[in-house]
């Protein structure tokens, strides 16, 4: 829910410029993607080039650290570099992990929703496909094969159901509390009222908001 890279919003004060500047390093971008992924119930677009860049930078850093160690650089300096690598590694791992856990939880929903499916990376799609196969087989073997004919689907309660009413979906209309980082003006939240986004003001509203501010 950071808004540092917002472009085109008028009134760019010195503070905003500063925020834009510090939030454009890849580490910050990764942190923001990680935070957004962690906070949102549905899976977001995979940041493939960011992940790629981060991994390259980590590798570069690791090489630097190794070089430092060989050159007998001050252990404190080395340890600081190492700590930085560890933190970035954690962000990266955690980011990938959260995504996989979401895929595990909502695999059937993601599979049948084309928009969500395209948000996955190639490897994630492979992971999802295999997970779906595994889970389907497990469900078939444990429950569905033992049920009467018209009740064997893992997506529908019975053949009478018109929609897939057995598929878990993320809850998108839950209320969240968020804080706007800068003045955004009035934003329509739902049909009836619009919320005032004042810098630092707290707001309790449904999740649609974080899409506009993230």
């Amino acid at each position: 829910m950071e808004s540092g890279s917002d472009k085109g919003t008028g009134g760019s004060s010195a503070m905003d410029d500063y925020e834009t500047l510090i939030s454009t390093t890849d580490a910050d971008l990764l942190k923001r993607s990680w935070r957004n992924e962690k906070a949102s119930p549905e899976i977001l677009q995979f940041e493939s080039s960011l992940v790629q860049r981060s991994r390259e930078q980590i590798q570069l850093m690791e090489e630097t650290v190794e070089e430092f160690m060989n050159n007998g650089e001050d252990p404190l300096t080395v340890s600081l570099y190492q700590m930085d690598i560890d933190r970035t590694m954690f962000l990266l791992r955690s980011y990938l992990r959260i995504r996989l856990q979401k895929i595990e939880k909502f695999m059937f929903h993601i599979q049948k929703t084309a928009e969500l499916w395209t948000r996955l990376s190639r490897q994630e799609q492979k992971f999802a496909k295999r997970s779906i196969e595994d889970t389907k087989q497990h469900l078939d073997e444990s429950v569905l094969s033992k049920l009467p004919d018209r009740y064997k689907s893992h997506l529908k309660q019975s053949v009478i159901s018109e929609e897939d009413d057995m598929v878990m979906e993320p809850k998108l209309d839950a209320f969240v509390i968020c804080r706007s980082r800068k003045f955004l003006g009035g934003l329509p939240v739902d049909d009836r009222k619009s919320a005032r986004h004042v810098r630092g003001g707290y707001l309790c509203t449904s999740l649609q908001v974080d899409k506009t501010t993230s």
Partner: protein, 197 residues
């Protein structure tokens, strides 16, 4: 009462501590499946009866129609309960895949059904194959790192190993400072514990 047994099954799962599994209740599970079969027999016989009487399922709202509906709804409810039981257990099994290598400890394994054991294996493999595709180990680094080094106590004899920055003799009960990334694999295997404070 219809659906009572299925309810007990789900209740049993929710009563267990979250993240923990109790033994797979084959007995109750089979009873619910029996319930389902009974429902479908009654449902079919009611539908046949209605057909013979020439009444249309859509328009006639007589006792038979609602009887059939009850059996259908009971079936659907039973199915949902069975699926909830198996699916929620499967989620716990999925989580095991993150922390445990391919071999399950005996005390967990005996609580799983045959299909669940298979599921654990195949899902762990899926997870492993994702990690090797990306060449990144996601099973370490579960908590945000504070310090690159942590204090650990060795719980099981491990012997001489080469770690990323040193080679260490990991004898039992030794207390050492290790790189967190090195120690984590041993901690997750239960061979080491982190000393805090």
């Amino acid at each position: 009462m219809y659906g009572r047994k299925a309810y007990q099954l789900v209740k049993e799962f929710t009563n267990s501590e979250s993240g923990q599994l109790t033994g797979f209740n084959d007995d109750l599970f089979a009873q619910v499946i029996e319930d389902c079969k009974e429902h479908v027999l009654k449902l079919q016989s009611l539908l046949r009866k209605m057909q013979e009487e020439g009444s249309d399922n859509q328009t006639t709202k007589n006792a038979d129609h609602f009887g059939a509906l009850m059996h259908h709804l009971a079936l659907v409810r039973n199915k949902r309960c069975l699926m909830a039981y198996v699916y929620n257990r499967a989620e716990v099994v999925q989580n095991l895949g993150w922390t445990i290598d391919l071999v399950l400890p005996l005390e967990i394994e005996e609580k799983l059904s045959i299909s669940e054991k298979e599921y654990f294996k195949s899902h762990s493999k899926t997870l492993k194959s994702y990690m090797s595709d990306l060449d990144i180990d996601l099973a370490v680094d579960m908590v945000p790192p504070k310090d690159p080094y942590i204090k650990v106590r060795v719980l099981e004899e491990i012997g001489n190993v080469v770690l990323s920055d040193q080679s260490a003799n990991l004898t039992r009960y030794a207390i050492l400072f290790l790189r967190r990334t090195d120690a984590e694999q041993y901690i997750s295997q239960g061979k080491m514990e982190e000393l805090t404070g």
